[in-house]
Each structure stands twice: as structure tokens, then as C-alpha cells.
């Protein structure tokens, strides 16, 4: 970033207008790439949209659509959801399902007449969930094997990558570390012999 004036920055010899930065960051969180699209950075918007959403959706499919859910119950503290939620609106159904499940749970046990929304899309498992017990989570693991594990990590990584994208929408590109820069021989000052004093 060579210069910064209001919301305009210069990067790689290009002038970038970040427009309303908080709004761009919010849009970037809701839909990966939307903040950049709002700022007129279409190429980057396309890269972010395709890379992050495809990673997230691929992970979701690998895990049999059960890897994203919101739960903070004993035996099933799904901390991954807070990172998966970095990808924005795609994780919203999990949040809604989690809230609904909490309302339908008494003393750690899901009511017997509870039916999750949308055919169980991103719904948490029926409670109680206990480690090393044959509950719903164990069935998902058994059904999808390594796919469940990989699907979880794919969606987590997609959410984490979108945090970088949100920062980029708010403040422009991250600085390349000095140690990572390669020397350009053309930029180095030429050493010339000084003429001998007469």
C-alpha cells in the first residue's frame, strides 16, 4: 500500500477505491467475494466466490451434509461451527436449526415429537450425545468415514479463508512480508567505479 487517502489506496500500481469499508466487510462475510464485487474488484470477487464456496460445498458434501451444525452441549461441543460460520450465509441454516433444537431440548434430552426443519439440513444430532456411545454423531462417522473428518476440515478452512477475504475488503491487501520478497536485480543500485580525482 503506497498511499492512503480517504478510502482510496494504491496497490501494485493500481488505484483501488474501497468505498464504504464496513459495508464491504459485512458483504464479504455474508457472501465470499460480495464485498469485492461491491468495490468493483471483480476478478478477486470471482476468485473468492469460486474458491471459498466450492471448498465449503465440497466439504459439506463429503461429510454427507452433517458436518455443519451448531451445538454446545456436553459431549458435543461443536467448536468447528464458529469457524465454518466464517463463510457467512451458507452456515445460517445451521444457526437456526441449533436455536430451534435448544428450544426443543429439556434436561439434555430432545423432545420425542421434535422434527427438524428442511428435512434435517444442518440440524444438530438428537440429544443426548455422549462420547463413545452409539448416538447419531457416531452413525454419521460410521456412514461417511474419512469423508466426515475431511468434510469438517474443508468447511473449517473455507471459513478461515473468508476471514482473510473480509480483511482484504476492509483494509486492502495484506502486506507481503519483507523476508518473502525476492530481490529484483534491476532495482539494485549499479555500482560504478568513481573516476579518479585529477
Amino acid at each position: 500500500m503506497a498511499s492512503e487517502e480517504n478510502n482510496t489506496i494504491a496497490v501494485d500500481g493500481e488505484i483501488v477505491d474501497l468505498r464504504n469499508r464496513p459495508l464491504a466487510a459485512l458483504l464479504a462475510w455474508l457472501i465470499p467475494g460480495a464485498g469485492h464485487f461491491y468495490q468493483g474488484r471483480q476478478t478477486k470477487a470471482f476468485i473468492f466466490l469460486v474458491c471459498i464456496l466450492s471448498t465449503w460445498i465440497l466439504g459439506f458434501a463429503l461429510g454427507g451434509s452433517h458436518v455443519v451444525y451448531s451445538s454446545w452441549e456436553p459431549g458435543d461441543k461443536r467448536w468447528h461451527f464458529y469457524l465454518q460460520g466464517g463463510a457467512g450465509l451458507v452456515a445460517l441454516p445451521a444457526y437456526l436449526q441449533g436455536r430451534r433444537m435448544n428450544q426443543e431440548t429439556d434436561l439434555g434430552e430432545t423432545n420425542s415429537d421434535y422434527e427438524p426443519l428442511w428435512g434435517g439440513l444442518m440440524a444438530p444430532p438428537f440429544r443426548p450425545v455422549m462420547e463413545s456411545e452409539a448416538d447419531e454423531v457416531a452413525a454419521w462417522y460410521a456412514e461417511h468415514g474419512a469423508g466426515y473428518e475431511m468434510g469438517t476440515w474443508y468447511t473449517v478452512i473455507a471459513g478461515l479463508l473468508n476471514i482473510l477475504v473480509i480483511y482484504d475488503a476492509y483494509g486492502g491487501p495484506l502486506a507481503v512480508p519483507i523476508s518473502g520478497r525476492k530481490r529484483d536485480p534491476e532495482e539494485e543500485p549499479q555500482e560504478t567505479e568513481e573516476p579518479a580525482a585529477s
Binding site: V11, D12, G13, E14, V16, R41, T43, K44, I47, F48, C51, I52, S54, T55, L58, A146, M150, Y154, I157, A158, L161, L164, V165, Y167, D168, P173, L174, A175, V176
Partner: protein
């Protein structure tokens, strides 16, 4: 030698492409520089993982 199927290595391909491109695009505006940075990131991560792989392979050979 390997306790998992080599096809599991295919999980790595879409992930490295996505990570490298997002890393590149969050550090540059120029598309050419984005692609260059992505290539370097992909190469670096692959090399790092290859080193770890060789270390584990050596350890498993030792035991």
C-alpha cells in the same frame, strides 16, 4: 508402507488450489501477481508437506 490409500491424497488437490489462490488474491491486486503468489504458495506448502512426509516415512522405516 502407507497405512492409508494413496487416493486420499486427492483430498489435497482442491484444498491447495483454493488456499493458494485466496492467499495470492489477498496480497495483490494485479492478476498476474496474484497467480505468481498463488504458485509460490502452492509450491511452498507442497514442499513443506513433502518434507514432513519424508520424515514420517523415515521414522516408520526406523521402527
Amino acid at each position: 508402507m502407507l497405512s492409508i490409500s494413496p487416493t486420499y491424497m486427492l483430498y489435497y488437490v482442491p484444498l491447495i488450489i483454493a488456499i493458494a489462490l485466496v492467499f495470492g488474491a489477498t496480497r495483490h491486486e494485479n492478476t498476474q501477481l496474484v497467480l505468481q503468489h498463488a504458485w509460490q504458495t502452492g509450491r511452498w506448502i507442497t514442499g513443506f508437506m513433502a518434507v514432513i512426509f519424508v520424515v514420517f516415512l523415515f521414522l516408520s522405516w526406523m521402527t
